[in-house]
């Protein structure tokens, strides 16, 4: 009956009751000893984290975990994927069931400060949008006065929708489901006049679930800032630093033109001091993080640089077909800016 809750409550209480042996700074040791990184992902959002019919995971969030596994263990395949619903995700991280939560999760103050976890960077700058059927002739979310809008429980989207409805006096009626599949199912069945969630998720939904993607339009108005990124348990600064710097490293790699294909060549031929530092040739950048010297070489080999990850999973060549937009490098007018590795 209380399926999700028994899971949740069990995980929460089991962790709180018996896991008092987990000390700060021990996640790295635990991952190495286990020989496996446990990564919390979504139950299926194309382009971010989704399993195919044979159980192979792909997506931007998945590539982040692969890069972390490669940097820490030297093998990108040593990841155990734990698909989590939105209500489960924080409890799973708090309780120690997973090492990293890489699951299209918005970085907010309350989550960062009061849930016993901390965010380690932004891998996707998203915003909340509305998708409506073309035939309804809605051009602007402000036209949704009194409409039913399908939304997922426990997301920032639910609250943004309420704020937006109040600010514009729209009296929108939310229809709330726990699972994303149920939300999109109800919308495509015609229960709601609109569906709202992050623009990236809407794009993937339209491609995968609509009978005809052309019948649905994503309205350009964004009603929120949704910086998505990986999170780790609070209290293990060493582990947080590793995840944070792997993400920064992937962005740095793009900036300096280090790709999955050319990383070995660059390592042996490049004379650029910044590149040699990133790849650990001239300086042992890994030892400050408790990792091997060639941690970035392994990470880039596993997932490619940030730009490659984006193109493969979300870019125009992928089925999601999103423009790079805000997620371009800072040098190209976007927001992706990594502190230097040195």
């Amino acid at each position: 009956m209380f399926k999700h809750f028994t899971n949740l409550a069990f995980v929460a209480s089991a962790a709180a009751l018996f896991a008092s042996t987990a000390h700060a700074g021990k996640t790295l040791d635990a991952v190495k000893q286990r020989g496996q990184l446990v990564c919390g992902v979504s139950t299926g959002v194309t382009g971010l984290s989704q399993a195919d019919s044979s159980g192979n995971w792909s997506g931007l969030d998945v590539d982040v975990c692969r890069a972390v596994a490669a940097a820490v263990l030297g093998d990108a395949s040593k990841v155990k994927w734990v698909p989590l619903t939105t209500p489960q995700r924080f409890t799973a991280l708090q309780s120690g069931e997973i090492d990293v939560l890489s699951r299209n999760t918005t970085w907010t103050l309350s989550r960062d400060a009061s849930l016993g976890l901390q965010f380690t960077g932004v891998t996707y700058y998203d915003g909340q949008a509305f998708m409506v059927p073309v035939k309804g002739n809605v051009k602007n979310p402000a036209q949704l006065k009194g409409a039913s809008v399908c939304v997922q429980a426990g997301t920032t989207a639910e609250r943004n929708l309420t704020d937006f409805s109040r600010a514009n006096k729209l009296g929108i009626k939310p229809v709330v489901f726990e699972k994303q599949e149920a939300v999109s199912g109800a919308y495509f069945a015609g229960r709601c006049a609109a569906i709202t969630i992050d623009a990236s998720a809407l794009a993937s939904m339209r491609n995968n679930e609509a009978k005809d993607p052309k019948e649905h339009v994503i309205l350009p108005t964004l009603i929120s800032k949704e910086p998505l990124g990986p999170a780790v348990r609070r209290g293990d600064d060493e582990w947080a630093a590793i995840v944070k710097w792997v993400v920064y490293g992937l962005i740095e790699a793009e900036e300096y033109g280090i790709t999955q294909a050319n990383v070995d060549k660059v390592l042996s031929e490049s004379g650029d001091p910044a590149v040699l530092r990133i790849l650990g040739k001239s300086e042992d950048t890994g030892k400050w993080l408790g990792l091997d010297r060639d941690w970035m070489v392994k990470a880039v080999k596993a997932s490619g640089n940030y730009g490659e990850m984006f193109e493969r999973n979300l870019g125009p060549a992928s089925s999601v077909n999103l423009p790079r937009g805000l997620n371009s490098l800072w040098s190209k007018g976007g927001l992706m800016f990594a502190p230097p590795i040195r």
């Binding site: 009956m1 809750f5 409550a9 009194g146 639910e158 309420t162 409805s165 009626k173 229809v175």
Partner: protein, 391 residues
């Protein structure tokens, strides 16, 4: 002078009663220590992990809207009010569901005794079909049917242009609340009192003289008359709020969402199958000789059922039917799967916004426990009333 045996004085622990007390006290303190240990350790570990806990969040603004609500609710209201909305939504399904399932289940159960083979076969088929399919699947099926099969709001099925059925639910006209409705209600209450006084009087008269009086129709007429009189006294208000559809918006009237309809249909049809079996077993439990004995006393068939068979069947029916009521209430927590904002759905959202998993799960458990205990307390009282009174 009484002689106290030294044996008895020195060894209280040899007395069965005091040893029993000792064991019980020991067991109780062990349980309490266990609970204390778990709670203390949980709190300690949560604070060590930087997870905030406590009930203070209940006074913070909830910040999320709820699709349908019996009481007035605004997103700026505190969390406890959001929980209250969830509790009322759960109660709405549970109360309406219990009443509807009882009526339907009784009809189906009685139908199994019908002389008409088609009715008998239908009731049999219904019970076997609905009680053997998991209730969650039934909820999903009804919800899918309601949202997939019905037309959208702009092409809603019209019932005489005053009520509409569409993917957005059922839209109905409702009377506009006026003073006259309150007086009508008061009139019905007065009618109810008068009717019960009449029934008592009529029963005493019957016991004394053997003359029969109308025990059903006349009392009902008295209640109806009371309501009508109250309505007339209050100025006979007759304004109805007729809904009109404009774009996404429905003006006036009242709406029943497909989520509510789906939950209600699923739970009622499922539970009715079990209640039908309970009713059938109760009627079967009354020996055939009882009806024959009633007939030989000169009671007609209706009197025999009302005065002889039913009172005996009720004793068998009430305890298992209580379990079915409890099941229906608890199964309503599945409503979250089809987007009905019940207590579980509200707690779900709250849990995600505040991260207070332990507290939110505790609230859900307390709500269901309270509802179930209230139901069984009432049903146990009713059971005692219906039980055999030994004189």
């Amino acid at each position: 002078m009484t002689i106290r045996s030294p044996y008895k004085r020195h060894s209280w622990w040899r007395s069965q009663a005091s040893r029993g007390l000792l064991y019980q006290a020991l067991l109780l303190s062990l349980c309490l220590a266990g609970v204390w240990y778990l709670a203390h350790n949980t709190l300690l570990n949560m604070s060590a992990r930087g997870i905030q806990s406590g009930w203070d969040f209940l006074n913070d603004a909830a910040g999320f809207d709820i699709g349908e609500s019996v009481v007035s609710y605004d997103a700026l209201d505190p969390y406890w009010k959001a929980f209250l909305v969830g509790v009322f939504n759960t109660l709405r399904v549970a109360v309406i569901g219990v009443v509807a399932a009882t009526v339907l289940g009784t009809l189906l159960g009685v139908g199994r005794f019908s002389h008409n083979a088609i009715v008998r076969g239908f009731c049999y088929g219904y019970v076997e079909l609905f009680r053997n399919v998991p209730v969650l699947l039934q909820l999903l099926m009804w919800y899918l049917l309601l949202t997939e099969a019905l037309p959208s709001l702009d092409q809603a099925i019209s019932f005489g242009s005053i009520a509409w059925l569409s993917k957005s639910g059922l839209i109905l006209p409702v009377p506009v609340w006026e003073f006259g409705h309150a007086t009508a209600g008061i009139g019905m209450v007065i009618g109810l009192v008068a009717a019960s006084l009449y029934r008592r009087e009529a029963h005493q008269h019957f016991e004394a003289s053997g003359r029969q009086h109308s025990m059903v129709w006349l009392p009902m007429a008295i209640v109806a008359f009371g309501g009508l009189a109250g309505w007339l006294v209050g100025g006979a208000p007759s304004t109805w709020s007729i809904p009109t559809v404009d774009g996404f918006v429905m003006n006036g009237g009242a709406s029943v969402t497909p989520e509510f309809l789906g939950v209600l249909l699923g739970l009622v049809l499922y539970t009715a199958a079990f209640i039908a079996e309970v009713v059938r077993s109760g009627l079967n439990a009354v020996a055939h000789g009882q009806s024959e004995a009633a007939a030989s006393l000169g009671l007609n068939r209706r009197q025999a059922i009302r005065l002889v068979v039913l009172p005996q069947a009720m004793r068998v029916i009430i305890p298992p039917i209580t379990s079915q009521y409890l099941n229906l209430t608890k199964n309503s927590s599945l409503a979250v799967a089809i987007g009905y904002p019940d207590i579980v759905s509200v707690a779900n959202t709250t849990l995600n916004q505040t991260g207070r998993a332990v507290e939110c799960v505790a609230i859900i458990m307390a709500v269901y426990l309270t509802m179930s205990l209230a139901t069984s307390t009432f049903m146990n009282w009713y059971n005692r009333r219906a039980a055999i009174k030994e004189r």
